[in-house]
């Protein structure tokens, strides 16, 4: 029997959503190992939302407080977590492969002198050994890896471990973390400018191709993107970028940007293989095209056949309603 330490994330004193995924993953692992999940969050004071960790399967939730922990403090966090992990004799330490987790997890592993299985998409226990799955070569292959060092330090790929409610006591306690924040000091986070969302980073991408007939019609896609409330960017196929309709920075495809948003809406794009190469890793693909034989429908999860000039405005108004 061994317990699992789940490293939660907060920003500005509020628990980040990815924490639920971490607890969910940790719970799954702890059940297989027959242990408890202890969640740990580093913060300057009380963290709002920590009680939710119990709902997703944490037996206890510990807030390690330190005046220097308001912002992410890489060295202070790593030291606190590593000491806690050592003292608790955990079988595994689970982080997120988020921006913070990717920075923090290797530091924890190094301090514990163990390996890090990074960016994993699955975890199981086989004959007492922890076995993880992780994508390599940009997702073109998966590695199944046995973690032989102990504790197993894992970082979970975000958006993969869908939070599941597995209520546990979730006893909340706070401990004071000693020491300072370390030499590397985070001064703050500059918020990304509104509307400056890059196609490569946007969680939703609405892309247009030659089916839009002329540059002015991209207005339809911009309106659809706006309807998603600042979460969407407008992309373009190579054909329309080559034709000068859209800037090169918007191009999605083999020689443009590779995107993997959670939703990709291809409008009037036939689906040349060069375009598919740039967006095939999107989580969900919707295609709107008048040609039902267009190759884009072969890769799309959901296709709508018909006139985009009728479909897109109707979709935009529905999305607007949805987002109130």
């Amino acid at each position: 029997m061994s317990n699992v330490l789940a490293i939660l994330e907060q920003r500005d004193g509020t628990l980040r959503k990815v924490s639920h995924e971490i607890v969910t993953g940790a719970r799954r692992l702890a059940d297989a190992l027959g242990g408890e999940v202890h969640a740990l969050v580093c913060a300057a004071g009380p963290v709002s939302g920590v009680d939710a960790a119990g709902r997703h399967g944490a037996d206890t939730v510990i807030t390690a407080t330190n005046a220097a922990f308001g912002q992410y403090a890489p060295e202070g966090y790593a030291r606190t977590i590593a000491e806690h992990a050592k003292a608790g004799g955990y079988g595994a330490v689970v982080c997120a492969a988020s921006a913070q987790g990717k920075d923090l997890s290797p530091r924890i592993a190094a301090r514990l002198s163990v390996a890090l299985a990074a960016d994993i998409t699955d975890v199981s226990v086989d004959g007492g050994a922890i076995v993880v799955t992780r994508p390599v070569y940009a997702g073109k292959a998966l590695l199944k890896v046995k973690v032989v060092s102990k504790p197993a330090v894992l970082s979970l790929r975000p958006n993969v471990f869908t939070p599941v409610e597995r209520p546990r006591p979730g006893i909340v306690e706070a401990v004071a973390a000693t020491g300072d924040g370390g030499r590397v000091v985070v001064k703050g986070i500059k918020a990304a400018a509104a509307g400056a969302l890059d196609v490569a980073e946007a969680p939703i991408v609405v892309s247009g191709g030659r089916g839009l007939k002329e540059p002015a019609n991209f207005k339809l896609l911009e309106e659809l993107a706006q309807a998603f409330g600042g979460r969407a960017a407008v992309g373009a196929s190579r054909a329309v970028v080559d034709a000068g309709w859209r800037p090169h920075g918007d191009q999605v495809g083999q020689t443009g940007k590779t995107v993997s948003p959670s939703l990709y809406i291809a409008v009037g794009i036939s689906g040349a293989i060069q375009h598919l190469a740039g967006m095939r890793t999107a989580k969900v693909i919707v295609a709107i095209n008048k040609d039902k034989d267009a190759p884009i429908f072969k890769i799309a999860d959901y296709g709508v056949v018909g006139d985009l000039f009728e479909i897109v405005p109707a979709l935009t108004s529905e999305i607007r309603k949805l987002n109130g």
């Binding site: 190579r238 054909a239 191009q251 040349a272 293989i273 190469a277 034989d293």
Partner: protein, 546 residues
């Protein structure tokens, strides 16, 4: 429609520059420069480096090889069944297993195809491959490049040669293409100016339809009995479920009767198959599309069972100089310059071979250059022995024996086949004299619809699918490198769209649209229409096992 009427002239003013002309960044001085890291240039560089090492008197030679591909072999494409004679001459002590070849040809067959059947015929004597090897020119070139570098040769990949640097009638080196230009020719932050490389001898080993080789011949007025003519080959590599155990060549379908060419299918490994089609560019139907013929070919009962369920892993295309003996430039040497391999036209169409001629010509050039350097003079007279070495060798002998064979097919396949048979029987003496040819671009075309082709994405593919599989990741914002004639009419635009296997040209609402980044440097439209010029180094395909 006659293609040459719409073809712009070769831009000689940009291709022939006086040494020291403005516009260059760095410059570098070499003893000998090979332009093009193919079998010809690399064999030449290897032989030259060895001669210099063996002869203490001359000291160390500074030998450079320029290559436009990002890495060695990435712009090289061939069948290929290779005659190992030149490899053996260059590496006499190397055991057979260490040669950069796939395997000996053990079984071979030739078929005449109709759309539904394959009639096996006796192998024409010129096509017998006993003692030859299946190979990948990419692999051969990579290997030769390693040998050259081990001998101290400087191989510069990612640097296309853009112009000849000249002093009077002498070739003094080349200028490379600039990198980091924007769509309108403006300099981007990554801009890097052209480099001037000067050398005592510049060996043009550019390969088929070499730009600087053409420019030199035109500039110096070097004639040939016939104009050079070309074929276009489109080739795919497949991983197959079913192994192939023999070399296959076919004639007939899917080519129309007025076109010269055929197909090939070679096992690189039992389950790794190269399949391709080659068509002379003097065909008459302007709507003929060689990429489409390639796609149709795969559906033939002879090939389909091998390919079905497999995966197309690479695609590429390239032209082949087919003019043979009578299309060779009267001299392949001049003041400070020699022409090697495909750039000179050393290809024997009836045996479908060129690689060993290319390498052999490189070896002969190296010997001549070495002697010239030793004598301290690299004038036209000092380099002329190279022509004599080629003319007295099996290169000229082989090409002379089959001198009229490809030419016989200019009036169609049936008559051509008959004449070619007589030529073989008479050792090339029939019909006597020379069959006169005109340049491919001068052959009149008629437009005759050739059916609709819809790729299925499994066995057959579109042109952009092909470009994707060629590994082409050319930056989209480079300036267009293709020079078209003025006011191209719709029928000519359509013709270009069919000629180009990479979907570079499209006829859109009666006008010509150019998708320049698709270009894979096959040079087909350079033969028949828009001129190819070099672009940023590393652009174009990235062939791996072609």
């Amino acid at each position: 429609m006659i293609p040459s009427q719409h073809q712009p002239p070769l831009p000689l003013d940009q291709l022939i520059l006086p040494t020291g002309a403005a516009g260059a960044g760095d410059s570098m001085e070499l003893d000998v420069l090979f332009v093009g890291a193919g079998p010809a240039g690399l064999a030449g560089a290897i032989e030259l480096a060895r001669l210099a090492k063996a002869d203490r008197g001359i000291g160390e030679l500074n030998i450079g090889v320029l290559e436009k591909a990002e890495a060695l072999g990435e712009h090289s494409l061939s069948g290929a069944v290779v005659n190992p004679v030149a490899l053996r001459e260059l590496f006499p002590d190397l055991p057979e297993k260490d040669l950069p070849l796939r395997g000996r040809v053990e079984r071979e067959a030739v078929y005449v195809l109709t759309s539904g059947s394959a009639l096996r015929i006796p192998i024409p004597p010129t096509m017998k491959n006993h003692g030859n090897y299946i190979g990948s020119i990419c692999e051969i070139v990579r290997w030769l490049g390693q040998q050259a570098e081990a001998l101290g040769v400087n191989v510069f990949t990612g640097f296309p040669a853009a112009a000849l640097l000249t002093e009077g009638t002498r070739v003094a080196g080349v200028r490379t293409a600039a990198t980091g230009l924007g769509r309108d020719g403006q300099q981007l932050p990554s801009y890097s100016a052209p480099n001037d490389l000067t050398a005592k001898v510049t060996a043009l080993s550019e390969g088929t339809r070499g730009l600087l080789s053409q420019a030199w011949q035109q500039w110096q007025g070097v004639p040939s009995a016939n104009p050079q003519i070309f074929a276009l080959g489109v080739k795919e590599i497949w991983e197959t479920k079913r192994p192939l155990d023999r070399v296959i060549h076919t004639m007939g379908w899917p080519l129309p009767r007025d076109a010269f060419g055929g197909s090939f299918c070679y096992p690189l490994a039992p389950n790794l198959v190269a399949i391709g089609i080659v068509v002379g560019l003097d065909y008459q139907n302007a709507a003929l599309d060689i990429h489409v013929l390639m796609q149709r070919l795969k559906g033939h009962p002879l090939f389909r069972p091998y390919l079905e369920g497999g995966e197309m892993v690479e695609w590429g295309a390239k032209t082949i100089p087919e003019g043979g003996y009578y299309a060779l430039p009267a001299r392949r040497s001049g003041d400070g310059v020699v022409l090697l391999g495909d750039a000179a036209g050393f290809v024997d169409v009836p045996s479908l071979k060129g690689i060993h001629y290319a390498m052999q010509s490189g070896i002969y050039a190296a010997r001549t250059i070495f002697a010239a350097l030793k004598a301290g003079e690299t004038t036209a007279a000092a380099l002329a022995p190279y022509d004599r070495l080629v003319d007295q060798s099996y290169i000229a002998r082989d090409l002379y024996r089959t001198r009229n064979m490809r030419l016989a097919f200019k009036d169609g396949f049936t008559a051509g086949g008959f004449k070619a048979g007589l030529m073989t029987l008479t050792g090339g003496r029939f019909p006597g004299g020379r069959i006169a040819m005109h340049a491919d671009a001068d052959a009149a075309r008629r437009e005759e619809a050739d059916g609709v082709f819809t790729p299925d994405g499994k066995l057959t593919f579109s042109k952009v699918d092909g470009v994707f599989k060629s590994g082409n990741t050319t930056r989209d914002t480079i300036p267009t490198h293709l020079v078209t004639g003025r006011d191209i009419p719709a029928d000519v635009a359509r013709f270009y769209s069919h000629v180009c296997p990479a979907g570079v040209y499209e006829e859109v609402d009666g006008t010509l649209r150019i998708n320049a980044p698709n270009c894979i440097d096959c040079k087909a439209t350079d033969v028949l229409g828009p001129r190819w010029t070099p672009r940023e180094g590393g652009s174009g395909p990235k062939y791996k096992r072609m």
